[in-house]
Amino acid sequence: MTEEKKPEERKPRKHATEAAGKIGPMVKAALAENLRAKEEGEPIAYSFIFSSYDEIIRAMDIMPAWTENYAGVCGAKRDAQRFLERAESENFSRSLCTYALCGLGFDSWREETGEMPPDAPWGGQARPTVMLGSGQIICDPRYKWYQAAQHYMPDVPVYVAGLPFPPYEDDYDYRDVQDYYVKYIVEELRGLVAFLERHTNRKMDWDRLSEVVDISDRTWNMISEAYDLRKAVPCPMGTGDAMNTMVPMTFMMGTQEAYDFFKDLYDELKRKIANKEGIIPDEKYRLLWGGGLPAWFALSDFNYFNSKGAVFPAEVTYRQVEPVYELDMPKVSDPLEHLAWRWVKYWAYRHDKARKRPGSNPDVERLIEYIEEYKIDGVVIHEAFSCRSWHPGLIWQLNQLKRVYRDIPSLILESDIVDISSYNEADTRARIDAFIDTLEAVKSKKG
């Protein structure tokens, strides 16, 4: 995800950690693995991240194809335009999720010609055996994208797993409803297993699933503990790196490899802290990435921030885990039940905290928590124009944060996840410069 190849010779982006540096080859290898699996007739499932079915797929030895990842790769390699244009020519609106447009453009191209589009980034994306969506409040593309892809692959079956989570409301507590949420999720995950057994030549090994779920629990814990180390001053790892280390979290959850990766990261960060090794030698401003998916083609902007003395010890984006031991989980033996409880408890994690602060909600509480624990001076959010799931609400969160907590300096960046035509480097850097000036002014006032 960090390799950027262009005729004009883009230099590879510098990482603060060795761990992050391992990611590019990992992603490339995973994509190659998919293509090999396809050739050997193994089942491949188009999948969405954070859909609570990683463990199920892994336990059944089904190869996940993370279509969001592939679109991100196309974006990072600045080769998404031709797929976006292809989708547009199919009458998909350019205002839809650009991950989906990239994927739909790619799939319709591959299906029409019967082979990978020419020079497809990193070999391309193999035709799937099944496509797995999810129905929840996170995102519409999760139940629309693969349905739309079925127009080009009518023989590929689609399963949408209902994965709701209790909203934060004043008229009831999540504990009043958690039982029926969990019941539903368990039924949907059971349905997913049945679907996968029916459409692939795999059978679920329930003992194996319990093992995989255990690994993923421990990985959740390891990620949380590793990332917590970034509270240190100077900070040893920033959001720029986290946008790489998210790979094992989102695409390899449930594997020993993912656990080992974060164990190595934990050890590496501990070493850096012991040596007082920060991302940059002269850390002046500590920033929170308060929301928004990154512009995959412009991750070098994090280096630009670094060059101005700013680091990002914490981010909300792609940190979709909490320590499982803090989730107040009931003890259950059925791994599907365990997954369902983990899902509900994860989303309800800060409900109690939010109730203690009038006007707050779990998202705002999370921002406040990070600001305090990571000693944050300012908040940056990125509005990606094509993503209606993570971005509506960010402006309100920022405003509410200032209303119920304190008036903290903030910056709003605007572009997209994959569509580079939305990005203006000069404008972005100018905004960053102005923000740095603000941070400096606030700092000198504090004296």
């Binding site: 244009e85 547009e88 020519s89 199919e90 009458n91 580079i420 035509s421």
Partner: protein, 283 residues
Amino acid sequence: MAALSQYFAGVDIGSTMTKVVIMNEAMMNSVIGPTGPEHRKLANRVMEEALAKAKLVFEDITYVVATGYGRINVPFADKQITEISCHARGVAHLLPEVRTVIDIGGQDSKGIKLKEGRVVDFVMNDKCAAGTGRFLEVTAEELGVSLEDMGRLSLEAENRVEISSTCTVFAAQEVVAKLSEGVALPDILAGLHEAIATRIYGMVRRLKIEREVALTGGGAKNIGLVKALEAKLGFPVLVPPEPLLTGAIGAALLGRDMVREAAEKGGTLVRSKRRLTEATLFT
């Protein structure tokens, strides 16, 4: 008046150019002029010019059809028909083997799909300058090149650059930056033509393009753009002899079609009661 001498007029008021065509079986006269803001006055004046050229008076015209952006400002027109139908009709007459028409105007561009000479589908871009003549106009100004020379010069490129901005305003900035970096002018021009061809191709692809493909409108006179589009399509395109006139020709022909159909059914078409001179009273 003998039926063979029935004259039909088509008035196409585009955003940049106004075109009038007067025709019958034997002849066709046309006038092309810049549009400007005052459509009403303009329509009258251009019509008078065309009549003079054809040595006719307004009463000689059997039916007048107005089309184009300013078609509601042709008070003496008997009917207004969209430029989509008119371009299609014009091309069907001039180049009957055409199935897909790409019209590139000053401020909009269109794709039209034909089947047996009739419109079956169309797409339009009138929201975004980047797929229209305007894109080239703006950037030509920035580069200090005339519109006429742009196309020809672009063909001299040795290393076409990529213009990544899809927005006309940002593209203009990008182009100036590249020029100051020392990039060769033809290379930049080729990049611009490539960018606009990409936008147009992307739009027309929604129609499932079928050959033969014809190019009309001002953009068809730009050899650089024609070549860039041909490269995208992978085959040559047809360009009618005077690409700016297809709309007006089509309008006149549609008028003729309507009159003939009415005659066959034993009726007559309702004509506008306005006279050419009446309209000029208000100018």
